[in-house]
């Protein structure tokens, strides 16, 4: 199935790389993340943690301007896998996948100003997102 590919905004690369260790050293407890579907991501957690924003940024321009969809990097793919089972979203509480880390690193997420934080599957199945 061709899925809508990733469109995302991630401009705080340096910030997250530097802020994460700094906050960790200060003794803030590590975020508790609710992982709904444990398993293989498109890359190792280390790589994903540090570069997901670059991947999404790159793909976003490809999809938006050249219409390339259905590739490996796909924001809707992230959401499909990582939406929590309790509220069906990647946002909502500091345990939800995206929000947990971003709250911990104090990095604003701009993606969901426009993107739907709930999976497309729900929509296809007729559930109102």
């Amino acid at each position: 199935m061709l899925r809508h590919a990733g469109l995302a905004f991630a401009a705080f690369v340096a910030f997250i790389v530097f802020a994460l260790p700094a906050v960790a050293l200060a003794g803030v407890p590590k975020p508790v993340i609710d992982i709904a579907n444990p398993g293989q991501c498109i890359a190792s957690p280390e790589v994903m943690r540090r570069t997901h924003m670059d991947m999404l940024l790159h793909q976003r321009d490809k999809t938006m301007h050249e219409g390339q969809r259905g590739g490996k990097v796909d924001l809707n793919g992230c959401i499909d896998c990582h939406a929590s089972k309790s509220n069906g979203s990647v946002l909502g509480s500091n345990q939800n996948f995206c929000q947990s880390c971003h709250a911990y690193a104090a990095v604003k997420i701009d993606c969901f100003e426009c993107h739907q934080p709930k999976p497309g599957k729900a929509r296809i199945a007729g559930i109102k997102p």
């Binding site: 809508h4 050249e66 969809r69 590739g71 809707n76 426009c114 739907q116 929509r123």
Partner: protein
């Protein structure tokens, strides 16, 4: 292209064609012509120019199935403010000739996907752009919401999102503070389907909308445009809109 790639591509096209479920109405009549579906990871091609032909003699006064289908597909809801603050990607315009027999017409109006789009010319950031296949889009990642494009569009095709949204279609990101307009259902086109409005118009039985590649000489739309008289709205502005009207 290797033999294997070709087969792969053909298989993909066949699959998308199946998925699109060409709205076949009568033998030989189809409202959408989408022989150009692409393989995953392939960029849109400049050889294609998507366009639409609207037959105003078939479009029915009072019917707004296209508008409803657009709202469902793109999750467009009326806002909480005044009506003029809600988005309208497609609208029905009712016309009445001022002189003569006061002929009445009804037609859908949406972004005309101009070949020389003034919205793109004026956009300070380059957020408004024209894709290689002629679809004019707003890149919401860089739109700053200045609304200059809305001032520039002769067709009043654009809307500004006046408040936070929550019920977006995951395939159609939309959000507060950016400008938006009809995308020809780009998310559907990219998977080999046509716009939702055209499909709905076919289902309603009016068959007033035809969608396809204007550049494909063998395609239905190009054939129709070369045989019947059609016009572009405000052709005097020479923007070369991709949406053509018949019977005005």
């Amino acid at each position: 292209m290797s033999e294997e790639q070709k087969t792969g591509r053909r298989a993909f096209i066949a699959a998308s064609v199946g998925a699109a479920g060409f709205v076949a109405l009568a033998p030989g009549v189809k409202l959408m012509d989408l022989a150009q579906a692409r393989a995953p990871g392939e960029s849109v091609s400049g050889k294609v120019r998507w366009g639409m032909l609207i037959d105003t003699t078939k479009c029915a006064t009072g019917c707004s199935d296209c508008v409803a289908a657009c709202a469902t597909e793109n999750a467009i809801e009326p806002g909480s403010g005044r009506p003029a603050q809600s988005s309208q990607w497609i609208r029905k315009i009712e016309l009445k000739e001022k002189t003569g027999g006061h002929r009445e017409l009804s037609l859908p109006m949406m972004c005309q996907h101009c070949a020389n789009p003034p919205c793109v010319d004026v956009c300070p950031t380059g957020a408004s752009f024209k894709r290689a296949d002629g679809i004019v889009l707003v890149d919401r990642h860089i739109c700053i919401g200045c609304r200059y494009c809305m001032m520039a569009c002769p067709y009043q095709a654009r809307s500004f999102v006046h408040e936070p949204l929550h019920h977006q279609n995951p395939e159609v990101p939309r959000g507060q503070g950016c400008v938006e307009a009809c995308t020809f259902c780009v998310q559907r086109i990219d998977r080999g389907q046509g716009p939702a409005c055209v499909e709905a118009c076919g289902k309603s039985g009016h068959e007033a909308m035809l969608f396809g590649d204007l550049n494909d000489p063998g395609g239905e739309i190009a054939k129709r445009i070369s045989t019947v008289a059609s016009s572009q709205v405000r052709a005097d502005l020479r923007l070369d809109p991709g949406v053509r009207y018949q019977g005005i």
